[in-house]
Symmetry: C2
Subunit: 155 residues, 2 copies
């Protein structure tokens, strides 16, 4: 698949919220996001990996100014479904590369992850679509990661 | 944010591979994806959630005909980084809704998850971008989920 990198972006105005150990059964994702919708919260990204047990973790990001409300909703939800706890972190940033073929062409994904490795930046979360790879990293390293990424991709 | 649903799609030609309990430190994502790139494997999606320990799970999907090669690479990688194991599953499908505001507007995400709940379909994985929500579900339920989703979104 043809690769065409359109841009590299950094979003520092986000915070992540994780609800840990929710029951991994139908209706749970609906319950959380309908509560967030009911509170008019805008969600930036949602990530959930597979689980090998009866529980799973759900993580989503919101703009900084929505963190308090989102955490309240998440805590109410966690209580209602008997999840283990809610964790949140304002010290994160989302670094993304956008373009056609960025995931299909594993070379691009590899190069993106290589840059973070070279900067010794730990990748906390990964979420992709066909035209975008997004990594959640330490907020303090966001700007330097972005600069380095631009250099690495000759942009 | 204005919502404009462009489409609902089902991809049944995928398999998921998870490398469980990889060290959660810089360089790991790079190592896995450079190996996949080296074997010319096309990656469809990558998902990694946050971890609370020193290890994490990494999941990616590939087209069915690339599964064997991808599993071999994943197993080699797992051995090299001392991960716990590799798991894979051909019985999955990816159901997605594409459009502007599908994630920012939690109502849309909520509706999408609600449809799966109404069909009693468990959501195994969630990955999003600003214009797309993708869920990994049981392959056998893919077609009915797609039909129902079209009805729910009046498409
Ligand atoms: C964890 C959550 O995604 C659950 N599996 C659901 O279907 O709602
Ligand atoms: C798990 C993996 O993403 C690791 N944190 C890395 O940075 O490569």
């Amino acid at each position: 698949e043809k690769v065409l990198i359109r841009g590299i972006s950094l979003d520092e105005n986000i915070a992540k919220i994780s609800v840990l150990e929710v029951p991994d059964k139908p209706g749970i994702a609906f319950k959380l996001f309908s509560s967030l919708a009911g509170a008019d919260i805008h969600v930036d990204m949602i990530v959930q990996n597979v689980t090998r047990s009866a529980v799973n973790d759900m993580t989503f990001t919101v703009a900084m100014d929505e963190l308090q409300n989102a955490v309240n909703i998440a805590q109410e939800f966690a209580f209602e479904v008997d999840a283990q706890k809610v964790e949140y972190d304002k010290g994160v940033a989302k670094l993304s590369v956008v373009g056609t073929g960025v995931v299909a062409n594993a070379e691009v994904a590899s190069k993106f992850f290589e840059a973070l490795y070279e900067m010794e930046i730990n990748i906390q979360m990964i979420s992709t679509s066909e035209i975008k790879i997004s990594c959640i990293i330490d907020k303090e390293k966001g700007k330097e990661a972005m600069k380095y990424m631009h250099k690495k991709f000759d942009m």
